[in-house]
């Protein structure tokens, strides 16, 4: 699988670290922490994930990926996606 980094261009996944889905927020209580750490929806189809380009431009990306085909429809800098 190759991830199209908006700065570096297409790069092998092993240059990246996957942080998981983007739409979970760190909970502020201990009870919710188990779910936050261990439970994932794992849907079929389009997912939005954070990937860190550790061995490249050292930036966080927001990647939209199909969990069945691994096709990536979008990869943007997370700081731009957050704006």
């Amino acid at each position: 699988m190759r991830i199209p980094c908006p700065y570096c261009g297409p790069r092998d996944t092993h240059e990246f670290v996957c942080r998981g889905e983007t739409d979970t927020n760190r909970p502020d209580n201990d009870e919710a922490f188990y779910d936050y750490v261990y439970l994932r929806d794992n849907p079929i189809g389009s997912v939005r994930e954070h990937w860190y380009h550790a061995q490249g431009c050292r930036n966080w990306l927001t990647v939209t990926r199909d969990s069945q085909t691994h096709e990536i429809s979008e990869a943007v800098l997370a700081k731009d996606a957050a704006r």
């Binding site: 700065y7 570096c8 261009g9 790069r11 092998d12 092993h14 240059e15 061995q55 490249g56 431009c57 050292r58 930036n59 800098l77």
Partner: protein
């Protein structure tokens, strides 16, 4: 030119990581470094001899040949208010990789496309060689001549990779 390839350490250079301050004017930053525009995934040489390499969004590595011990501080003063400067002269090691087969040899270690159409003169990339992170760029010189920076503690690993890859390439010829 060397027939195969050679890996030569470049010593005595000043090295600094430069990050633009939020909302900084890129044209102004470029002017302070003596270049017309800040490079994106490219390396270019200023009139001063300093090399400016784009390593990430609004991030650069700046290299100065024959740098005085206070070069990092003076660069920080020069860019004050526009960019943050972190002296990396003791953190990175620099190498020149050149020779007729330099590109072929480099492709044995790096996963990025090094075809001259994809990675030519002035191209730069931050990537991995033999599991070690490197900042790699092709100089403006004639013939394949590359330079690379990596964290100093990975020097032995890079030199080992080079020795083995060169021997494997020679054996295959």
């Amino acid at each position: 030119m060397v027939e195969g390839a050679e890996l030569v350490p470049m010593l005595g250079m000043g090295i600094a990581a430069v990050m633009a301050r939020r909302g900084a004017d890129m044209t102004h930053l470029a002017a302070l470094l003596g270049i017309s525009a800040m490079p994106v995934a490219r390396a270019l040489k200023a009139g001063s001899g300093e090399i400016i390499i784009g390593t990430g969004p609004e991030m650069w590595l700046v290299i100065s040949p024959d740098a005085a011990p206070d070069w990092g501080e003076s660069l920080a003063e020069r860019l004050a208010g526009v960019a943050s400067v972190s002296d990396q002269s003791g953190g990175y090691a620099l190498y020149s990789l050149r020779g007729a087969k330099a590109r072929q040899l480099l492709q044995k270690g790096a996963f990025i496309d090094l075809h001259p159409d994809a990675f030519g003169r002035g191209s730069a990339a931050t990537t991995v060689i033999a599991h070690a992170g490197v900042i790699l760029w092709q100089t403006e010189e004639e013939a394949p001549a590359f330079e690379l920076a990596l964290f100093r503690s990975f020097q032995a690993s890079l030199e080992h990779w080079f020795t083995v890859a060169l021997a494997a390439m020679a054996a295959a010829d």
